[in-house]
């Protein structure tokens, strides 16, 4: 049963790895990659904890829904990146002024 905990720890690791990359990199494509990896991390925790002797199908359905939502969000984000680059000439977020 310890592979449940192994994969959920890997999931937690992916979540925080993605969070770190999302915040620290300015290129928009990297941010989209980071978000996808964070999503995979959360889904991994969700299914890993449910994979005991009686595999629970509800988390599987939730993850499939999550994957489709993630791909639609990524598609919208990528189209936006192209538009931002067309308008502002660079595919990076301007330096956020925190006021």
């Amino acid at each position: 049963m310890n592979n449940i905990y192994l994969y959920s720890i890997v999931g937690a690791g992916l979540f925080t790895l993605g969070l770190y990359a999302l915040i620290s990199y300015r290129h928009l494509l990297r941010k989209i990659l980071a978000l996808n990896i964070m999503g995979s991390g959360v889904f991994l925790i969700l299914v890993a904890l449910a994979s005991g002797e009686t595999p629970d199908p509800v988390p599987h359905a939730m993850v499939i829904t999550g994957i489709v939502v993630a791909v639609s969000a990524s598609a919208l984000a990528l189209a936006l990146v192209l538009r931002v680059q067309a308008e502002t000439g660079k595919a990076e977020l301007p330096e956020e002024s925190l006021e």
């Binding site: 979540f15 969070l19 999302l22 928009l28 941010k31 978000l35 964070m38 999503g39 959360v42 925790i45 969700l46 904890l49 449910a50 509800v58 988390p59 939730m62 829904t65 999550g66 939502v69 639609s72 969000a73 919208l76 984000a77 936006l80 990146v81 538009r83 931002v84 308008e87 502002t88 977020l93 301007p94 956020e96 925190l98 006021e99």
Partner: protein, 492 residues
């Protein structure tokens, strides 16, 4: 065998109406404006039907697919969700009339304008589904639907700053949803169910210290939702997004979209999170008060009217969080009433700003040119909405702030009293600044454009509604008592 009038499943009809209208307006782009008006009227009728059912028989629970709670998804309509549905219906009626004037050929490129209607109706579907759902994973899906349609609507304006603020808004939305989902995962594996009612029974029943999973879930969900509600440290994305969006879209964002994630936080906070220690409440109260000051001061400094109104939203959201340290029965009701009146007032304000932008071609406050003379209705709308934001009697804002003051005095937290009053003074300052400039004329004259009449009247009507809300206050306040959080389980 057609089911009789009372048993009409209004709760489902309210979600299906905007969904089918969105699909129809996607299929037949030429008849979008008619569809928008028809949708607004039919949803108001459906909300009235649901209101009648809820008042007669109390909170409504509807198991979708015929499967009861732990297995299936349940919809739940009580006083809180009913009020939110009513405000959404009112605001969206105003937006549908306003948009027939705003998105005409002269002002907005036709190829872009036809996408406003289906996206807006999907946003309305997401709002209705969110206010009625009692399943936390379903709330995640509605939050995503809400976020994606809001981002697409912001990007509709098409300028460089609109697009950069749209993509920043998208990343903030996705990050918030992922944090929320992480919290849902922990709750599901701890209690084996996704339904709010069942979860609250589990958590309330085990009186011993809640396990770390519940605390972590509460923290993650709150962090995600606070990011989406733009509370003080995480508000950086709101002003550019709300200011650079098209007129009716910024009204929708400030009035409803930001409140939707707050609504979920409120419902989960009252029913699921076992908050014994006052520390989280105090923390939210402190962040709220900093938001009031920060938003107010930044609003005073702004050159552009729409940025000023966006920062006023940041400040008013701070007010909503003042109820958490009080956590008394009056405080929750006062805060919720403030939420409703702010929705109406802020929609009227952004519509007025849209009119001025449409009239003069710019919204630089310094260069307002005879706005009062040429745009009497719009200036009146802005002034009336300002009364409700400032909290002057008899407006709804006044009643909300008064109840909060009362709760603060009863619980003896005087620092809150001071903050509420100072916040109102700050609000008065930046609103009078705008009204002052409305009377002046600027040196350089620029050619003005005629503002369609329906845009002016809707702004005025919603501003009037925000003010008159204070007069009919007892009815909505009584309505809040139906259902869970305030009714039986009301804390305090």
């Amino acid at each position: 065998m057609l089911i009789t009038m009372q048993e009409y499943p209004w709760i489902v009809i309210i979600i299906l109406l905007p969904l089918s209208a969105a699909i129809l307006s996607f299929l037949f782009p030429r008849r979008v404006k008619l569809l928008g008006l028809l949708l607004a009227l039919s949803v108001i009728a459906a909300v009235a039907g649901l209101a009648w059912q809820v008042i007669e028989h109390g909170a409504q629970r509807y198991a979708i697919g015929g499967w009861a709670a732990p297995l299936g998804i349940e919809l739940y309509a009580d006083g809180l969700s009913l009020l939110m549905l009513m405000v959404t219906a009112l605001v969206c009626l105003g937006v549908s009339i306003y948009s027939t004037g705003y998105f005409n050929r002269a002002y907005f490129r036709r190829s872009r304008a036809i996408y406003f209607w289906p996206l807006w109706m999907f946003l309305w579907t997401a709002l209705n589904a969110l206010f009625l759902s009692s399943d936390i994973f379903n709330l995640y899906v509605t939050l995503e639907l809400l976020g994606l349609s809001a981002v697409a609507l912001v990007a509709l304006a098409g300028g460089a700053d609109a697009l950069t603020s749209a993509i920043r808004y998208l990343f903030v939305n996705l990050l918030g949803s992922l944090f929320y989902l992480a919290g849902v995962v922990l709750l599901y594996h701890r209690f084996g169910s996704l339904d709010i009612a069942i979860l609250s029974q589990h958590i309330m029943s085990q009186q011993m210290a809640p396990s770390p999973a519940v605390w972590a879930a509460a923290g993650l969900i709150s962090a995600g939702l606070l990011l989406k509600t733009a509370l003080f440290p995480m508000h950086f994305w709101l002003p550019p997004a709300h200011a650079s969006a098209p007129g009716p879209v910024s009204a929708l964002l400030s009035a409803l979209v930001v409140k939707a994630s707050f609504y979920i936080l409120l419902r989960l906070w009252l029913e699921i999170f076992p908050v014994e220690s006052p520390v989280p409440g105090q923390l939210l109260g402190v962040l709220g008060s900093i938001a009031i000051f920060w938003g107010g001061i930044q609003a005073l400094r702004q050159m552009r009217l729409k940025m000023l109104i966006a920062y006023s939203t940041v400040a008013q959201i701070g007010y909503l969080f003042l109820a958490f340290p009080l956590a008394s029965y009056i405080a929750w009701k006062g805060m919720f009433f403030l939420l409703i009146s702010h929705a109406l007032a802020k929609t009227a304000m952004f519509m007025a700003a849209g009119n001025i932008l449409h009239f003069g071609g710019h919204d630089r406050i310094k260069d307002f040119d005879h706005v009062v003379q040429y745009q009497p209705l719009t200036s009146a709308a802005f002034a009336l909405a300002g009364i409700s934001i400032m909290g002057l009697p008899p407006s709804g804002g006044f009643i909300g702030k008064w109840l909060l003051l009362e709760a603060a005095v009863n619980s003896g937290q005087w620092w809150l009293v001071i903050i509420i009053i100072l916040g109102s003074l700050l609000a008065a300052a930046y609103i009078f600044k705008v009204i002052g400039f409305a009377f002046t004329q600027s040196e350089m004259s620029h050619q003005t454009r005629k503002v369609p009449v329906q845009m002016q009247w809707t702004a005025l009507a919603l501003a009037l509604a925000a003010v008159l809300l204070g007069l009919i206050a007892p009815w909505p306040l009584a309505l809040m008592d139906i259902g869970l959080p305030f009714g039986e389980g009301g804390s305090g």
